[in-house]
Symmetry: C2
Subunit: 334 residues, 2 copies
Amino acid sequence: MTIANEFYSQQNHGPFEYFELGDFALERGGRIPACRLAYTTLGTLNARKDNAILFPHMFSGTSKHMQMYVGAGLAIDPARYFVVLPNMLGNGLSSSPHNSPAPVAMGDFPEVIIGDDVRAQYRLLTERFGIEKLELVLGWSMGAQQTFEWAVRYPAMVRRAAPIGGTARGTAHNHLFVANAMAMIKSDPAWAGGAYREPHAVSAGLRLLGHFFAQSGLTKEFYAREQWREIGFNSQDEFLAGFWEAWFAPMDPNALLSLLRKWQLADVARHTGGDLKAALGRISAVVFNMPFAQDMMFTVDECRAEHELTPRSTLRPIPTVWGHFGMLGLAAED
Amino acid sequence: MTIANEFYSQQNHGPFEYFELGDFALERGGRIPACRLAYTTLGTLNARKDNAILFPHMFSGTSKHMQMYVGAGLAIDPARYFVVLPNMLGNGLSSSPHNSPAPVAMGDFPEVIIGDDVRAQYRLLTERFGIEKLELVLGWSMGAQQTFEWAVRYPAMVRRAAPIGGTARGTAHNHLFVANAMAMIKSDPAWAGGAYREPHAVSAGLRLLGHFFAQSGLTKEFYAREQWREIGFNSQDEFLAGFWEAWFAPMDPNALLSLLRKWQLADVARHTGGDLKAALGRISAVVFNMPFAQDMMFTVDECRAEHELTPRSTLRPIPTVWGHFGMLGLAAED
């Protein structure tokens, strides 16, 4: 059965459309029948089809969140570029545990990895739009994971790549961090092995997750300076409730788990038998690797290590007290 | 009712003795009737009573854990010093939620702060041993919190102080970190608001706590280098289960919560109306402030900020990939 969740609506995240992937086979085994990729586009594809930008989203995000960086005077100008904003499989809009019928409903949803998303996005770009070259692929966090996967998997297709606050392969510590995030959702008895019947039953688990991200995704300096005042909160507790609890509360727990597992498994070295240097060596795109200063999830040092293995890479750390959530800070500066 | 827990035994943590504090009033209100402070001593107090060292313990520890640094050829030589190893109130050996009868049993145990421990320890030292001067107070993590409290509260009594990997006042971020640790224990329905009847009922909550500390207390480099091999584990999962789950599993969840709340409330500026500089300015002891490099719980920067407010302080960062658990690394080096 599917679980209706009003959060994943056209009203909240649209307008978006669907690209039908059909019976979609997954890299780690299993398949999603009648698989759908939700996406949005902004701007116009030119006649030569050489002005396309792909901008995948981060954990717990949708195409709507990336849309706020696209506009006149913003980071990406849709008057000049055709911007494709795909939704990850499992993100709640594309095929996901709660919106898929049996045999892949809820806890039976198969494990999806970043490579599956990138293959699905490739089909969208080539089959629907006839795009053979991307001017730029960029993304933040899990968006950076997709960016790296694109540059390694389809090197001839990516001219420029800008991974922001994310890595091509997760570290052992990051693996543990994500495992803990997953365990927090599952700690809520209402999760019931993924078989809840009410979309917002897992409220305690998602609250814990929110507070964990609040602690892990922002810097110590952010809290010391009470930087939450900048976005209108009057106390740390109010920030935790009004921002972090409110962020996750409407979402589907199985969808979040699907994305977290995907995050945990991200690794471009799957293409090269585990050899990260060889994988990153396949990239022909000009790369701007942009970690956030003080990011505790994906540190500058971790990003630098991959930058050093990437042929045409420039490292551009972004100074911000927002840490991993520097993208929010950038938004404010915009 | 009290909950028998075989972990807190003389066999596991002794030999230890009790000092009877009587009806002990607490700084935040409330009192513990027939309050007891468990402690151990090593070495001999000399006739002038000027060779005493006080060595309080860290979160989830007891006097037994500190004992491993005391011995011939170790950090502290008991042939020369009289070493007092107190157990914090709420640590499971001293008066604690699970071993206290009504009206302070289990969930009714009152909030204890670092100042309460230090006052209890003061009474032990002065009333039982007639000690008027401490050659050294030292401690790691919550032990550092007690060390700072000693140096601020009883400045004339402390000649030297060595806070290791800890601060005199928790930062806003640290407050959130500790709140999350508490929430993980409480996330387990078996905790039942503190009213469990079986000592090890809260196993899922303590497992989550263990994995959270594994992630937060060690460095990214520790995991990248698979440093757990150094202490005999063959995989990260084995390290998580064999060390971290095993560490917390036998403990009392209410005792851990009592200590966490105490950790969260630690603040020497209670003595000076919130003025941290004035509080640290009261310290007359020679201070060796020893943060761990790469410690994510108490950073070198956070310790440096307090060091700069402390009159006779020397900052001595300890290089280690063990991060906050550098004390374990030091043990290996011993």
